[in-house]
């Protein structure tokens, strides 16, 4: 187990290293950071001087090495836009993004688990059909559109909820539901097919034959085993959720990392772009790591080594 954790940690560090390399190369190969920093009014001399002082004339791998050294000290540079350390800006916004994604996750589970289980147990029933419609519909509905419709109905027409911004639960409700429902579609579908798979197996028949109540057969024997592929997919799903958060935050003016990232990208604020992608990558990798480690808990047959 310990060896497995260490190996997975090393792997994560390697991937993170890759993320920094890719973003660094992307930024350096496609534009001049000095010109971006000084803006359109800068003269060529200004840019040339800044290039020298920023070390941009050194070989690219020297620059990358220097960049990594700074990262190791937690220094992502200063945001052009805000004039503050980039990493600090990102960390400041992180609670808002966590608030949104956790709300979305809660809604996701509250919708997808019951729906996935019921539609598998009552296969081809009206609930199963409706759930299929839900899955197809919400997969086809990008969050920015469901967000717009939500604002139109619940904020403008009915006046029940605020249209944008962050405050109490009232503000969280709409973005959370929009993002949660969107991500629940896939989860429902996966859980349904996984449940169908498990419920057809011998040990479920044995459990029924033993006279165990159907409810417990479904929950203890069915659901618990059906959960494994769902958990496996959580890693990829989580990345999608974070991506959804980027757009949801933009639609609802939610002051999180996603909106900051869009702002940074739109303004070519390179230090901020690097810091946001790095933090996103760290979060997603951590979740993936936790998911991998949780296999052993959910499925005792899995031996991690």
């Amino acid at each position: 187990m310990q060896r497995y954790i260490i190996r997975r940690l090393l792997h994560s560090v390697l991937v993170l290293f890759g993320v920094t390399l890719v973003t660094f190369m992307l930024v350096r190969l496609t534009g001049d950071p000095a010109a971006a920093m000084l803006g359109p009014e800068a003269t060529p001399q200004d840019i040339a001087e800044l290039r020298v002082s920023m070390g941009l004339d050194d070989p690219i791998f020297v620059q990358y090495g220097r960049y990594l050294e700074q990262l190791a000290h937690g220094d992502f540079g200063t945001s052009f836009l805000y004039g503050q350390p980039a990493l600090g800006l990102v960390l400041e916004r992180l609670p808002a993004t966590f608030e949104l994604t956790i709300a979305a996750l809660v809604i996701n589970l509250a919708v997808s688990f019951p729906l996935g289980i019921i539609s598998a147990v009552k296969r081809d029933s009206i609930i199963d059909r409706l759930s299929a419609v839900f899955v197809f519909g919400s997969q086809a509905m990008p969050v920015f559109w469901s967000g717009i419709l939500g604002i139109m109905v619940f904020a403008i027409m009915l006046g029940w909820l605020p249209a944008s911004g962050r405050g109490g639960v009232k503000y969280l409700l709409m973005p959370g539901i929009v993002l949660g429902i969107h991500s629940a579609a896939y989860q429902t579908r996966l859980l349904r097919s996984s449940m169908l798979d498990v419920l057809g197996q011998d040990f479920v028949r044995t459990a029924r034959a033993k006279g165990i109540k159907e409810f417990w057969v479904i929950v203890r024997h069915g659901f618990r085993n059906a959960l494994i592929p769902v958990v496996t997919a959580t890693g990829v799903q989580f990345a999608a959720l974070m991506g959804g958060a980027v757009i949801t935050e933009t639609v609802f003016d939610w002051p999180g990392v996603g909106r900051l990232a869009v702002q940074a990208i739109n303004n070519r604020d390179i230090p901020l772009v690097m810091a946001t992608t790095f933090v996103f990558a760290v979060i997603i990798l951590t979740v993936n790591l936790l998911v991998d480690l949780s296999y052993g808990v959910i499925d005792p047959r899995v031996r991690l080594d």
Partner: protein
């Protein structure tokens, strides 16, 4: 017609010479195409998609307005059935007086075209890397799969946004970006398929008679990938349509005044309290298209039966 559905009886009876009535009526599985035509999801998806394609390709025949023609005097006109609207603009007009229906139709052209080309690009890239990874294994595999891991480690929309800013906007760059963000889905699935195929007996036999790598890949392995690739491609088209709309919504996709569903919805966001139709109808078109493509993809998956992990899509 039905003769083709059954196994040729001559082949079966030759061995038992004379016993011509060996009625081993082994029904061959109907062809994939035939099964697809019997699938209600495929039919529904196909019909919706055909209508949408016909409407967007035939846009100039269906509407007399130009998608970019402004008419400020008639701005924010309501749809025909609502007070303030009339039949000259069925779905109303936008903030610049442009006919909404016209823009939706022309926007569909752009969306579908971009999604198809980007998917083609992603599939070429993804298949190439997937085959290399699965066939050669070891070092090549490690490098490619680590690359996939890196890409999977951050939200594709962020990657797309970042690359879009670096490359600059424009349809060509948009296609490149969308292809870059979806090749991983192909490569993972193709790699998994190749891994199971490459050690099959007939491939080993091919190798034993001295077939080159290229020949083994192209003639022995590739034909078995067609089903999987078709399904992934269809589902990728749907996802790409949404990605493109998202990028356009954020202002980095298709640039105005060229109509795009995502861009129109972004416009609509500013007029939600006065003109609900701008923020609604482009979304309906988008949703209908994605549902249609997904229905088709789902049906194809059932029919071609590849072992695709649905998590990819």
């Amino acid at each position: 017609m039905h003769a083709t559905d059954q196994l040729d009886p001559n082949n079966l009876t030759q061995a038992g010479s004379g016993r011509a009535t060996t009625t081993l009526a082994i029904r061959e599985r109907p062809s994939a195409w035939r099964r697809l035509l019997r699938d209600s999801k495929a039919i529904a998806g196909g019909i919706i998609l055909l209508i949408l394609i016909a409407a967007s390709v035939g846009a100039p025949l269906l509407t007399s307005y130009a998608p970019e023609k402004q008419d400020i005097r008639n701005k924010l006109q309501a749809p025909a059935w609502q007070a303030g609207g009339d039949t000259s603009h069925l779905l109303g007009t936008d903030q610049l007086g442009r006919d909404l229906l016209t823009r939706i139709l022309y926007g569909g052209r752009v969306s579908l075209f971009i999604a198809l080309i980007a998917t083609l690009g992603a599939s070429i890239l993804g298949i190439a890397f997937g085959v290399l990874s699965g066939y050669f294994g070891s070092f090549t595999d490690t490098i490619i799969m680590r690359l996939v891991d890196v890409q999977m480690a951050f939200p594709s929309i962020l990657l797309a946004l970042a690359v879009m800013v670096m490359l600059g906007t424009g349809i060509r760059n948009l296609v490149i970006v969308l292809a870059i963000t979806s090749w991983v889905f192909f490569s993972r699935v193709v790699r998994a398929d190749v891994l199971t195929i490459r050690h099959r007996d007939y491939v080993e036999a091919g190798r034993a008679i001295g077939a080159t790598h290229w020949r083994l890949i192209w003639y022995y392995i590739a034909p078995n990938l067609v089903g999987t690739i078709t399904v992934v491609a269809t589902l990728t088209v749907a996802r790409t349509i949404i990605s493109e709309a998202s990028l356009s919504f954020l202002g980095l996709g298709i640039q105005p005044p060229t109509p795009s569903w995502g861009g129109m919805l972004a416009d609509g966001r500013g007029y939600l309290s006065v003109a609900w139709w701008i923020g609604t109808f482009p979304g309906v078109a988008l949703m209908a298209t994605v549902i249609a493509v997904n229905l088709l993809g789902d049906a194809l998956r059932d029919v071609l039966d590849p072992q695709i992990d649905a998590s990819e899509n």
